[in-house]
């Protein structure tokens, strides 16, 4: 069973289909695995009851030979910033510690309709603000790679719980969210596949918003094929999210890896992604894969995206401004933490918010409001929006020359917890999101795939980006690379 848990969705589906195992067996094995890896703290809530109900329904479909979906009976996990009806959704915050949504996020609803079974809700940085999954009221999530009882590496974030759950086999796929790299960053550190789809391809309804103009649901899986299965299930227009694209979604079907070829594929290496903090081992891995693709017939060329350096600063301003506005909804009256304060409405708001948000969230609100002050609006906020266009234009220019971009995902392998916490949240994000947030600024799809282990035995990953809606191409290239590098996975 352990072997099956670290296998792929197709294998599990086959065993379910042939009645070797039942959806309930599979769910129970996943729950046992989640409990056995409890020390890594991937989950905030295990949803045993809900999952068992779903597994029972799945079994009935299998018995009646009605289980036609490729995900029927497959255990999944969901980051705890997606609304799940009747299951608490905390955003790892005191503010929403007792919040129980009355509706399902569209992505969860679609997974349920496809017969998937929920194992649990995973840990994150509070309100998804972070790149380590260390700022959670439920304590930090720990990376499975290199873990010892008194020392551990961070999982990355903010979807660190989802990445660890997938890496350790307590689910077959997990949803994360990605505003500046929150899916790809932990995927990179934990050695799993992490996809940020094109902005608008996947519904955000029920994803508790961080930065509306950049947020997308992300997918974490162990293989590229599994990622395609999940994307095919959750993508497409949602009448309840006006920012989803109306063009009908065409299901992606990737050929078997033997039939994939990179001959003539134009791959860009944006030279600005080699920034001064890039680790030598990551650089070498980047070069090795570029060489490998070149040797197999791809046209690999260096290109320039001059505004890359400004992207992280621009991102930081826009993020804090949108956060300041988005977090205004939390006042403690209709839902969320309510302080014991009755002197005035405003005082109740202020006290509830001071108690309900951690320092990172409060600081981002204060800073965002500073940039939005009348005297600063043009200077910072509008200037950042203009720089955002320059960054987006860099991508458009790149597509005149090349079809996809190959870059590092993160600048290094996972840092040790004790080193990571020495830096402030902003410094952590400024460094860790360097290569990932430009894709969010431009809305383009990006995927992180694990390549190899570093000398210390930690995953090194690379990122592929493509033009809007080029998911079929970047996923195909990811699968091509995956098949050659044969990344080992957690043992």
């Amino acid at each position: 069973m352990d072997k099956l848990l670290l296998s792929n969705i197709r294998n599990a589906r086959k065993l379910l289909h042939e009645n070797y195992i039942t959806p309930k067996d599979l769910l129970n094995s996943c729950l046992t695995q989640a409990k056995d890896t409890n020390h890594l703290n991937a989950y905030i809530t295990l949803t045993e009851d809900e999952g068992n109900k779903q597994a029972k329904q799945s079994l009935e479909r299998y018995q009646k030979k009605e289980a036609t979906s490729k995900l029927d009976g497959i255990p999944i996990a969901i980051k705890d910033n997606f609304c799940t009806a009747n299951i608490k959704t905390t955003c790892a915050s005191k503010m929403l510690e007792n919040f129980v949504p009355t509706y399902n996020a569209t992505v969860y609803e679609k997974l349920l309709n496809a017969g998937a079974v929920l194992v649990g809700k995973t840990n994150l940085d509070q309100f998804a603000m972070g790149s380590g999954t260390i700022d959670s009221i439920y304590d930090s999530t720990k990376n499975a790679w290199g873990y010892t009882e008194d020392d551990y590496y961070i999982a990355g974030g903010s979807s660190g719980g989802s990445a660890v759950a997938v890496a350790t086999g307590s689910c077959f796929a997990a949803l994360g969210s990605d505003t500046g790299g929150s899916t790809r960053n932990p995927a990179s550190y934990c050695g799993v596949v992490g996809l940020k789809p094109t902005y608008g391809l996947v519904s955000r309804l029920g994803l508790i918003p961080l930065v509306n103009s950049m947020d997308v649901p992300g997918i974490l899986t162990r293989t590229v094929d599994d990622c395609v299965l999940i994307l095919n299930t959750i993508a497409g227009h949602d009448p309840k999210d006006s920012t989803t694209l109306t063009k009908p979604y065409k299901e992606i079907l990737l050929p078997s890896s033997g039939k994939l070829s990179v001959k003539g594929l134009k791959i860009g290496i944006p030279k600005e992604y080699h920034c001064k903090n890039l680790d030598k081992e990551v650089l070498d891995t980047w070069n090795d894969v570029a060489k490998l693709l070149d040797e197999n017939g791809a046209v690999v060329k260096e290109i320039s995206m001059v505004n890359t350096e400004h992207s992280i600063v621009c991102y930081s301003i826009l993020n804090q401004c949108e956060v300041a506005s988005n977090m205004a909804r939390y006042d403690g009256i209709e839902f969320g933490l309510r302080a014991d304060e009755n002197s005035s409405t405003e005082k109740l708001y202020a006290t509830s918010r001071s108690h309900g948000f951690n320092e990172v969230v409060r600081n981002r609100i204060l800073t965002g409001n500073y940039f939005l002050l009348t005297k600063n609006y043009e200077k910072y906020f509008n200037q950042a929006l203009k720089v955002r266009r320059l960054i987006s234009n860099d991508f458009y220019k790149a597509w005149e020359d090349v079809q996809v971009l190959l870059t590092p995902t993160t600048l290094s392998t996972a840092p040790k917890y004790k080193d990571f916490v020495k830096k402030t949240n902003r410094d952590q994000c400024a460094m860790q999101d360097f290569c990932t947030q430009p894709a969010n600024m431009a809305g383009v799809p990006a995927i992180s795939i694990p390549i190899k282990l570093s000398k210390k035995g930690l995953p090194i990953s690379l990122q592929i980006m493509g033009r809007n809606l080029s998911e079929p191409m970047i996923l195909a290239l990811a699968k091509y690379i995956e098949n050659i590098v044969k990344f080992p996975g957690v043992k």
């Binding site: 608008g200 920034c275 070149d294 600063v313 918010r353 001071s354 204060l366 500073y370 200037q383 431009a442």
Partner: protein, 152 residues
């Protein structure tokens, strides 16, 4: 051309580049920053009035010494963007700017969950949310820069 002369040509004319290109398909050296550190504005100092204003706007009464420092750091970090030439560039608010957003018909499709919705409120009376008296502006805290100001 025979082998030797070809080698010589390579040796003299193209060798370094060929070998570099062969070995390094990715840039060997980090890109140089275009930010001129000497031209960055002086570090912004946040005064008590600004803090009072930000707290009132943000409705979090927790600007302690450390978070003021964090705010000043964030401003210094943001100042780098002032050096980017954006003359004639239009702001990009959303990547969907080139298309109209589709809105639904204004029809009730679901809902009627009053009981469940009210369950998430800490204080309710019958079918109402309860709030303390309104229209009382938040008073600025005394001692805005107090070092001991603790949150949580």
């Amino acid at each position: 051309m025979n082998y030797i002369s070809r080698s010589i040509v390579r040796l003299y004319c193209t060798k370094p580049r060929v070998i570099l290109n062969r070995k390094y398909l990715v840039p060997k050296y980090p890109a140089q920053s275009t930010i001129d550190a000497r031209k960055l504005p002086e570090r912004t100092k946040i005064d008590a009035n600004t803090i009072a204003l930000l707290e009132r706007l943000s409705l979090v009464d927790c600007a302690n010494r450390q978070s003021i420092e964090t705010l000043e750091e964030a401003i210094a970090f943001a100042d780098q963007i002032l050096q980017v030439n954006t003359e004639g560039v239009e702001p990009l608010v959303t990547v969907l700017e080139d298309r109209p957003l589709v809105v639904r018909e204004d029809e009730v499709t679901e809902g009627n969950r009053r009981a469940e919705v009210l369950l998430n409120a800490s204080v309710v009376e019958d079918e109402y949310f309860v709030a303390p008296p309104g229209n009382i502006p938040l008073e600025a805290r005394e001692n805005l820069l107090h070092e001991e100001e603790k949150c949580n």
